[in-house]
Each structure stands twice: as C-alpha cells, then as structure tokens.
Amino acid sequence: MSDAPSEAHGHDHPKHELSYYAKRIYAIRDLLLEKGVITEKDIQCQIEYQEARSPANGAKLVARAWVDPAFKARLINDPKRACAEMDIDAASINEFVVLENTQKVRHMVVCTLCSCYPRPILGRPPDWYKSLNYRQRAVNDPRGIMREFGLVPSDDVEVRVHDSTADIRYLVLPLRPEGSGGLGEDELAKLVTRDSMIGVTDALPAATLK
C-alpha cells in the first residue's frame, strides 16, 4: 500500500496531508469499493442517513412531552413507541431510557468507556462528549461540568450521573423553562438544546425567542 492515496480511480481525495488514521480509512474504503463489497452510492446514502439524524428529533420529543402529559408518560414508559408516534426511527437503539429532570433531581449522561450516545435521537455526539476530559470528569465532578455550562444546581438538588456502559441509551428530559406557558410545541422545541438533553445544562429560557 502506498503512503499517499492514489488519485486516479474515480473519486477525489483531500489535498491536504492526511493523518495515519485518515489514510487508513481511505485505503479501507478503496478496498471495499474495488472488491465490490459496497458502492459509492451506499457510502453517500449512509452519510445522508447519519446527517439526517439530529438533536431536532430529541427536541420534538421533549416539546411534545412538555405540552402533553399523556405523551410524556408514554415517552417515559415506552420510549421507542413514543418515538414511532413522532415518526422518529429509534429501532437501531437496543434499549432507550428517558430520564426526567425535576426541581429536586437532575440527570447527566456520559459514556466513560467510549462515546455511547442516542444517535437516532440526537445525531452525532459533540466532540467534547467524546473527550477524555469530559469522560473522566463527568463521573467525579458533574457539578463542575454543569458550572462550565452555566448551571449551578443548589445543594438540595440530587445530581445523578448515568454512565452508559452497555446497551442502554439515555436521553434527559429537561425541565420546561419558566414563562414558556404561552408557547406552542414548535416554539418550545427551539428551546430544547442538545446539551440540555445530555443533561449538562437547562433548556434555553423562554425569553430567547423574543
């Protein structure tokens, strides 16, 4: 195998210097294509599928749960069925668990072993979620991390950090912001950030929309 990816086989490679792992993945891609294991179209479809999954899915679930108590109960008791109701495909998650924040209990999610994340619901994890810094500190200094995200839970709040080490994927259901009573579901969804569904901070204040 040559060091530089060859340029004359039907698709472009990046022109800048590639890292060892980037070279390796391009080489594997080329081999899979040459051997007919996958096609260019398969790769493009998979990229489009990965990009289509985004925190907007989670925000839809949370906003509906805020306005519809019966839906919230279904989301907590049978999350995959609740996803199907909202046309969100959660089938690829082995098991999906929703953690409801209250005034007294606040949840935060990490994967200390790697980067397990509810991708069908939230898309690709942010880089900080995969960083060693977050993975180490989330379990022993969760309040320190929340402070960095602008949140200071009071002493009488119980912080529960979930380390997703196995087949369960966790989504935090953040508290509905104060003063959001008059807002409709679509507007509420704009207040539901990715980070609030990982649990490191709150949903945005209602005044953000003004």
């Binding site: 098991e95 379990v139 080490t165 087949d167």
Partner: protein
C-alpha cells in the same frame, strides 16, 4: 421496557446491595475501573442482553447476561468531598456483581 425479563430470573432485585467485582483480565470489558470494588444497590433490572465480552471478540454473545442499573453514592465512590445527595449510576452485567451486606 420491551426486554425486561421476569424478576425471578435475576439473581438480584431492586434495592439489593451489591459489590462490583475487582476482576482484571484481558479482553473487552464493560465494567469501568473506577467502579470496581465499590458497593451500591440495584436500582433497576434491565433484562437479558447478549454478552459484549463475547461479542467484542467475534463471539455469539451467548449465554445472554442480565443487565442491571446499579446506583452508588458519589461519596462512596470518590470520598467525602462529593455532594452528599449525588449518585453515579452504571449499567453492570450480573456476573460482575456480588451480594453485599
């Protein structure tokens, strides 16, 4: 929970105190180091899952293992500097758990 098995098929039930084993062996293991040897309690049984310690090396994942949500006081895991109410919760397979007093 679609996968929950009956509580009678698990060795532990919610509320039971458990201690995480301190095993160290090569291979794919899903029990983080920081929680080995720590004592907590069963918060919830999730049911049976293919064993990742087998799947991680190309095996069939059988026999399935029972997975629990296990809760620990942060003060028991990291010491007295932690907020007294705070918990860390880890998904742990049954064969990594021993009964604790």
């Amino acid at each position: 929970m679609g996968r929950a098995v009956s509580s009678s098929s698990g060795k532990f039930k919610a509320g039971d105190r458990v201690r995480v084993r301190t095993d160290d062996r090569p291979g794919h293991i899903r029990t983080p180091w920081y929680i080995r040897g720590k004592t907590g309690w069963i918060e919830r049984m999730y049911g049976e899952f293919l064993n990742p310690e087998s799947l991680g090396h190309g095996g069939d994942g059988l026999p399935k293992r029972i997975l629990y949500l296990v809760a620990f006081n942060q003060t028991d895991v990291w010491g007295a500097t932690q907020a007294p109410r705070d918990k860390v919760l880890v998904d742990i397979y049954e064969h990594w758990l021993d009964p604790a007093a």
